[in-house]
Structure formats: structure tokens, C-alpha cells
């Protein structure tokens, strides 16, 4: 990746992080922590990798992304808005009764959302169905599923993992946002899902572990997944929950709570400062 691209991605990711804070603060509820931890990967996928067209969001040949951890709509919506699927200012209507920006993704209301999710473990299964359809139709689109590490508690994740390997869905990439925190705290204390990489490998997946906040590593992993034939790929993305907002980083309490007005202002100021430092 050249320096110019990397710098641009850092700027875009910061704008997406600002969108996350704006959405959640406007709503007075929502999930900033896991949205901030996945922001860099969403940025890379939506702004570099994915074959998508905001003017034709239902193009049958497009790449697809399923936010299996459906509560991370702030991240998903901010990425979609900045990519041009809908107006950025609409993020301020997040979770409001008169808005189409549902708390969890709705594929029929929100342009660019490929699957309605919210009940954990189901999104990756739907992604398996999309990848299966791609194989059946001999199309070359790719399917991305983003999972939380806490989501791995759901048995259905592993049912889907088994099915993806069984049908050799090498057009599927699952990305685990490995931020080590779920609502009730440390994932190893709530219900230990580790060793995550070994588990996916044992289920017959190609596994790549990366730093979720390093665009060069993200790019390398996404490209390796595309080249790997015969197996789906799991990218275990080591991340920091709340990444980019000092007081939210590595704090489970910011999984599902919104910053108050002053807190939001501080977060936006920090992100603006970071943006300025990139100039």
C-alpha cells in the first residue's frame, strides 16, 4: 500500500469514527465500542476492496458484507454514508422513530445493507447462503461477514463455520473483531471462546491473524483470502474496543452505551485533532 492511500484511509476511518460518535450521541443509545474497533476494516473494505456501486446497491454481481454483529450499525452506517449510499447527515437520525436507520441493520430500508441482522450467529449463516448462491451462479463476487468475538458464544456461528468449510466456500471471508470485550466484560471470563484461530482452523478454515488497526495488514489478509482456494478464510482481527476515543478504549462499558453531550464533544474533538495531525 502506498503512503498516499494509507493516509487517505486513516482520514476516512477517522471520519467514520466521527460518524459513529455522532450517530450514537444523537440517538442517546447504541453500540460505539465494537463499531470503533471495526472501523478501520470497514474503511478498507468499503473504500478499497469491495466491488459496490452506491447508485446500484442491489447489483446482483456486487460484493456483499453482512454485519453479523448487527448491533454495530453505527460503524456500518457511517461507512455506508461516507461511501455515498445515503446522506451523512442522516446519521443524526439513527434509532429515531421517523428514521430508516434502524438500531440493527434492515436490508429493505437502508441502502447498502445486504442482510438484516441483529440476532447473533445468524449473519454468518446468511453469508454462507450468499456464498453458496455465488458458487451456484458461477459469479465471482465475494462475501464478507463481520463477527464479534463475543458472538462466537453462539453455537450457530460454528454450525455456519462447519457448513462453509463443507461446501468449500472460498468466496467467503469472515472477520472476527477480536477486541476481547463483550457486554458483561472480558470474553475469557464471560464465556471463553479461545483459542479462536485454532477453532476456525479445526473447522476447516484458512485462518489469518492481524492487527485490526493496520491497513497494510488488513490489505494483505484480505488479498490472501481472495487467493486461497478450497477453504473459507477467517481473519482474526486483534482490535481495541472503542479505538480512537481515549476514554472508550478497552472499556466494556462502552459496548452498548452512548456518550453524553460533553463526552461526545470530547470524542469528536479528539478525532478532529487526529485528523489535523494527518494533514
Amino acid at each position: 500500500m502506498d503512503d498516499k492511500t494509507r493516509l487517505q484511509l486513516k482520514k476516512t476511518a477517522t471520519l467514520i469514527r466521527k460518524g459513529i460518535i455522532t450517530a450514537v450521541a444523537s440517538a442517546g443509545s447504541g453500540h460505539p465500542g465494537g463499531s470503533l474497533s471495526i472501523a478501520d476494516i470497514l474503511t478498507y473494505l468499503y473504500f478499497v476492496e469491495m466491488k459496490i456501486d452506491p447508485r446500484n446497491p442491489k447489483d446482483p454481481d456486487r460484493d456483499r458484507l453482512v454485519m453479523s454483529k448487527g448491533h454495530c450499525t453505527p460503524g456500518l452506517y457511517a461507512a455506508l454514508a461516507h461511501r455515498g449510499f445515503f446522506p451523512i447527515e442522516d446519521l443524526e437520525s439513527f434509532r429515531q422513530a421517523d428514521s430508516y436507520l434502524e438500531g440493527h441493520p434492515n436490508m429493505n430500508k437502508v441502502p447498502g445493507v445486504d442482510m438484516s441482522t441483529g440476532s447473533l450467529g445468524q449473519g454468518i449463516a446468511a453469508a454462507v447462503g450468499m456464498a453458496l448462491a455465488g458458487k451456484l451462479d458461477k459469479k465471482d463476487y465475494r462475501v464478507y461477514a463481520i463477527l464479534g468475538d463475543g458472538e462466537l458464544d453462539e453455537g450457530q456461528v460454528w454450525e455456519a463455520a462447519m457448513a462453509a468449510a463443507h461446501y468449500k466456500l472460498d468466496n467467503l471471508t469472515a472477520i472476527v473483531d477480536y477486541n476481547r470485550l463483550q457486554i458483561d466484560g472480558d470474553i475469557t471470563k464471560v464465556m471463553n471462546p479461545e483459542p479462536i484461530a485454532d477453532k476456525f482452523a479445526a473447522f476447516g478454515w484458512n485462518v489469518i491473524s492481524i492487527n485490526a488497526h493496520d491497513f497494510d495488514e488488513i490489505e494483505k489478509a484480505v488479498n490472501q483470502a481472495k487467493e486461497y482456494k478450497g477453504k473459507p478464510t477467517a481473519i482474526v482481527a486483534h482490535s481495541v474496543k472503542g479505538k480512537g476515543v481515549s476514554y472508550m478504549e478497552d472499556q466494556a462499558q462502552w459496548h452498548g452505551s452512548a456518550p453524553k453531550k460533553e463526552q461526545a464533544e470530547q470524542a469528536l474533538a479528539e478525532l478532529d485533532e487526529y485528523l489535523k495531525s494527518l494533514e
Partner: protein, 311 residues
């Protein structure tokens, strides 16, 4: 009425027949020889996917396939399709209103020997409570074939409730059906019996017995429970003044409840229900179980007579 064919067999045969449509994909959860999707698999192995014993996963995979334009038939036993997989059906198929047809076989107590854990008696209630879900419960092989074909033609989620047991064919091969339209099997004005699925045939025998006793019952096969045929129900209430529903399902939340919802809003008349009386089933031969749980022509006749007394 000589032939006896299970509705699940008619389902499998029909899938094999309409399978020439390359858009149709069939999923099963390690029960293809029982749900009879094996009949489709033999002809179109490349479009039949076994998802293993993972019913919830199968339903969400079906949703993903449907989101890419496929018409998906996902099959397993009713107890797992509506019960175990409920959340996937609700959130991944129902909420996004995707084009998945749930072929739920082995519904009701006529599953027989496998017993209560495998006898879905609440699946109609669960499925019809999902917004936008069409719920179909055919009585015989002829209506099953027609309704499966129509289910494939309409867009959106459909729950097809099918039986394990061989049941008499009650329709002639040229009979016409339409999703959402009840079929009047017999005219009559003393009361109306509305039956669904397995209970249509015992209800026909009950109507004959009643006739012999001078009671002229109207008989309706309500093969679609949602959207329910309000017109035929309101007309029956107006013209016959009493309605008895018959279903191989808990009397809570199923056909009886669906009919009652129409009656109380439009034209209240005395009603009663023949069905499972809010208890779980048990192991046994289907013929013994239907007697034990009152799903018989005799019980229908008895309830019909006492219902007429309330008019």
C-alpha cells in the same frame, strides 16, 4: 378416495416436478428421506444442499440464498422448523421478508411413535404470529401439489405444514386451489365445520354422519391459515350461525384462534374447537393417538351437536 398418500410425499414429488426451474434451491437438515426432498435431490443434486443437523443455521443460510434471488425450499420436521429454528425464521426470513418456503413435515401428533418431543402442536401459532408469513396446511396430496406450486410462484416467506402419515386423497385431480381461499367441500346451513390439514378427511366423515342424523353441516377445507379467508368465514357465520373448527394442533393459537379472530370482529356466533386440548402428545400408533386426543369424526359429531344447541 381410494389412494392414500402422505402430504410430505406429495411435497417431494412436486419439488421434483417444479425443479426444472433453475432458480429453485432445496435445503435439508439430514432428513431428506423423511421430508422427501430426496426426490428433488435425485433429479437436481447440484441444487440440493444437506445442511446437516443444524436447523437454525439452515434457515439463515436459506435467507442468504434467497437474498441473492433464489427461491429456497428449506425442509425439516415441523418441530424443528418452527420450534428450534424459530429465531432464524423470525429474524432472518420473516423480518426481511425473504423468499423462503419452509417445508415442515411430520407436523402434529400423527407423527406417532416418536412421541411428544417430535410432535409439533404449536407450530401454526408460532408461524402465523410472524408478520408477513403465509401459513399453509394442505389436507391431501392433490391440494399439496397445487399449493406447493403456488407457494413457489408467490414472493415471500411461506410455512408449509405437512404430515408424515399416509392420508386419503380427498380431491379430484382437476380441483382448483388458491392460496388464501378456503374450499367449500360440502354445502349446508345448520352449522359450519372448518377443518385444516389432516382433520379435513375426518371432518368429511363427521359431516356424513351428521347428515344421516338430519343435520346439514357446511364443510370448509381451510388450507391457508394465513392470510385467512375472511369472506368465507363471515359468510358461513351469517348463513349457518355456528362454527366448529378442527385442527391437528393445540386449540390455542391455531386455526380455531384464527377463525375466532374473524368471527368476533365481524359476526359473532357460537363457536367450538376440535384440536389438541393444550397438552403434549405421546408415543403411539397414529390411529390410537387420534382417538386418544379426540381428533375423530365421532368427537366432531358430538361437538357439532352440542354447538347447534347453543345457537
Amino acid at each position: 378416495m381410494a389412494d392414500k398418500i402422505a402430504t410430505r410425499v406429495a411435497y417431494g414429488n412436486t419439488l421434483a416436478e417444479i425443479g426444472s426451474n433453475e432458480n429453485i434451491v432445496v435445503l435439508d437438515a439430514d432428513l431428506s428421506k423423511s421430508t422427501r426432498t430426496d426426490l428433488f435431490q435425485k433429479k437436481y443434486p447440484e441444487r440440493h444442499f444437506n445442511m446437516g443437523i443444524a436447523e437454525g443455521n439452515m434457515m439463515a443460510v436459506a435467507a442468504g440464498l434467497a437474498s441473492c434471488g433464489k427461491t429456497v425450499f428449506a425442509s425439516t420436521f415441523a418441530i424443528f422448523a418452527a420450534g428450534r429454528a424459530y429465531d432464524s425464521v423470525r429474524n432472518s426470513i420473516g423480518y426481511p421478508h425473504l423468499n423462503v418456503k419452509i417445508g415442515a413435515t411430520h407436523a402434529g401428533i400423527t407423527v406417532g411413535e416418536d412421541g411428544a418431543s417430535h410432535q409439533a402442536i404449536e407450530d401454526i401459532a408460532l408461524m402465523r404470529a410472524i408478520p408477513g408469513m403465509t401459513v399453509i396446511c394442505p389436507a391431501d396430496a392433490v391440494s399439496t401439489a397445487a399449493l406447493v406450486k403456488q407457494a413457489a410462484e408467490i414472493y415471500g416467506p411461506v410455512y408449509l405444514r405437512l404430515g408424515r402419515l399416509d392420508v386419503p386423497v380427498i380431491y379430484s385431480s382437476d380441483a382448483q386451489f388458491s392460496i388464501g381461499k378456503g374450499v367449500t367441500l360440502k354445502e349446508g346451513n345448520d352449522l359450519t365445520i372448518i377443518a385444516t390439514g389432516y382433520m379435513a378427511e375426518p371432518a368429511m366423515r363427521a359431516a356424513e354422519s351428521l347428515k344421516a342424523e338430519g343435520i346439514d353441516a357446511r364443510l370448509i377445507d381451510m388450507h391457508t391459515i394465513k392470510p385467512i379467508d375472511e369472506e368465507i368465514i363471515i359468510k358461513a357465520a351469517r348463513e349457518t350461525g355456528a362454527i366448529l373448527t378442527c385442527e391437528e394442533h393445540n386449540i390455542m393459537g391455531g386455526l380455531g384462534s384464527a377463525v375466532a379472530e374473524v368471527i368476533v370482529k365481524n359476526h359473532p356466533v357460537p363457536m367450538d374447537m376440535v384440536g389438541i386440548m393444550d397438552v403434549f402428545g405421546k408415543s403411539g400408533k397414529p390411529a390410537d393417538l387420534v382417538k386418544m386426543y379426540g381428533l375423530t369424526p365421532e368427537n366432531i359429531v358430538e361437538k357439532a351437536k352440542s354447538l347447534i344447541g347453543r345457537k
